[in-house]
Subunit: 442 residues, 2 copies
Amino acid sequence: MTSELDLYPADTSAEATLRFIKTARPVDLASWLSRLSVDAAAEHLVEIGPKRRAQAFARLPSDHQASLGAMLPDHVLARIVADMNADDRVDFFNQLTPGAQERLSRHLRPEVRAAIHRLSSYPEECAGAIMTSDYAVLSAGMTAAEAIAALRAQAPGAETIYRSYIVDADHRLTGSVRLHALILAADDTPVEDLVEAAPVSVTPETDQEDVGKMIARYDLLAIPVVGTDGRLMGIVTHDDAVDVMQAEATEDFQKMSHVLPFKQTMRDAGIGILYSKRILWLTLLVFGNLFSGAGIAYFEDVILAYVSLVFFLPLLIDSSGNAGSQSATLMVRALATGDVELKDWSHMILRELAVAAALGATMALVVFPLGAWRGGADVALTIGLTMFVVVLIGSLVGMSLPFLLSCLRLDPATASGPLVTTISDATGVLIYFSIATAVLSL
Amino acid sequence: MTSELDLYPADTSAEATLRFIKTARPVDLASWLSRLSVDAAAEHLVEIGPKRRAQAFARLPSDHQASLGAMLPDHVLARIVADMNADDRVDFFNQLTPGAQERLSRHLRPEVRAAIHRLSSYPEECAGAIMTSDYAVLSAGMTAAEAIAALRAQAPGAETIYRSYIVDADHRLTGSVRLHALILAADDTPVEDLVEAAPVSVTPETDQEDVGKMIARYDLLAIPVVGTDGRLMGIVTHDDAVDVMQAEATEDFQKMSHVLPFKQTMRDAGIGILYSKRILWLTLLVFGNLFSGAGIAYFEDVILAYVSLVFFLPLLIDSSGNAGSQSATLMVRALATGDVELKDWSHMILRELAVAAALGATMALVVFPLGAWRGGADVALTIGLTMFVVVLIGSLVGMSLPFLLSCLRLDPATASGPLVTTISDATGVLIYFSIATAVLSL
């Protein structure tokens, strides 16, 4: 897929390495550096030009940034940090120890220090933490030609000049103008005439997932971040939004499969991280299983009378769990992408009832002959009936829980995966043996 | 999150509706129209200005497009279609019946027809199907001022002028230039001096998921699509990439939870769609369960001798499945995002061995007292040992299958979910009762 790109140096010769360092894109430089030893990475990092070096450094996994940062002389690190985009810079700065922050700060210009201070005051995972202060501003009183001249002056520092923001004397956001529009307009057109009113904006506290959704929904290049007083505080750019949406989807994948979220990539995560993020839910599910175990113990006599019932236990419990996880996953994802909103609840549940009944009936027909073959007509009736009921209940629980958790302002992804499993297991056992007791007249 | 936006008309009065129609963004217009009856939607659609109307129509779910398209007079529909972006237009055109395509074509200008024909020849879900032919081109011989003048002429039709492509006389792509650079340069700077060499590009056959990954990896606004002869054929823009990555993540969620992928949103999917996409794997998993059922039948004597073993059956099978689905999900997602590549396989498996052993040992310690309480020391030893082995095997299977399927060029997401469940169930039963037979000397 990347025929024109050098993802890594062609070979290990000094010449190939140098050519790669001179031509590769920052993200590819970062991939390459992250696979080298810290010593080698530090050595090669200083050979890269200042702008690309800072961009490559910004794209390193955070643990690599930390170890590499500790290796570099303070003034070299300070130069790299000063060249980074404002948002990447804060991410790096925030993970340093107070001592290292102090040492680094001494080598930074006051305005860089101030920018770090301003951005680092916001909690993680919200707009304030991912916004950048490197945006272009214009005032409505300019002409198109003056605006373009002003952009020329701001362009080297701004992350994007394709959309500029119009602020009043108090730095309150009043509109925005596209470079597109400035270019198309005659030189003396007032910027005022080109301004688009009421731009979509977020506050510094807006959850980053919502920021990403808005950028995607409105196909934006950037979204302004505005304080409660209406003042423009920063912008979040489209590339950050893509990263956020990818990260949020990964987090939901982890939560749905009973893994606590973690920030490292799978390649970089250590044994300790993976163990600690996986063991909690595995252990909690053991205790959830005590319910189904207790259910089975309660029906010990039934089992001894009809041992063939045990053959179908994994099948029935799995089917209920599978149907439940289908519903839960579909609903968690639909809520995450905004395809479904809370107010769609009644329509969704009614439709799920119909779908689940159809699924349960089909599954009952499938297992009926299996039951007849292993245990006769009574057993067939028992497992057919049970299958219908457990698929129905599993699906309804799987569909309802994400809604319920959303209403309670809990994350639907975290809790629905494990909860659906535990609930469908325990109810499955009870339903199975209750139906067995009734049908087999035990 | 959207205080400045009107997502829907403020109320149902004609006045509020009109204000909404005049001011709302296309995507919000589309949400609103999709909740109206077809008659009402058709009536309001014609009240929207041409450009926003076309954009709103493009964002309607495809079944709404079809029913609304059928309601509109041919010449009105043709006008909307002509105003749409080239890529959206083809998506709509391709889902019409041949008869409707024929009727619509008669009302389209020849160049629009030609653009549709050119783009519609590519298979779905590849770069050719999502690219647009509305891009800006420049030639290297221009000056910066001439280039800006040329862009002014092209801007109304181009989807983005923020990056223009440099082509030679044969329309072969030789480089690209950012509007940023043109604006910063002196008027008489040759474009040649501003061109960035070797742009990242894809072919029309590149999978759309890879296109999205490249746009995200390199933080691009657009990526050029180039034929085997080096000719520029179109571009894919960043907003399409976000949509693609969202859709691909949703597809992976569906596949991992045993649902066949479907294109409709959860809100719009009908009962028939949901049933048909869910029943296949549910039924197949029943047959997968025959293996575990057969295993249980084989060990009937063991069960009758130690009925307390049955209490722990759901627990052990679930734990194995849970550990396996943790590993499989983490690996499927890491492969999908590109965090892990096939060559990382040996490192991953070794680490998984260590993680799984630690998880298995912890889980064994947790269930040991449960076993002792229910069935004494022998049963405790049996279920502790079994837990260790099934968690280890479940994890290794869960981690290996996505790699193996990727190597075989199959989609890791589709098959690993259900396969991991079936394999861990069947092996779990066999391991459990084999260990029981050995430990309990049956």
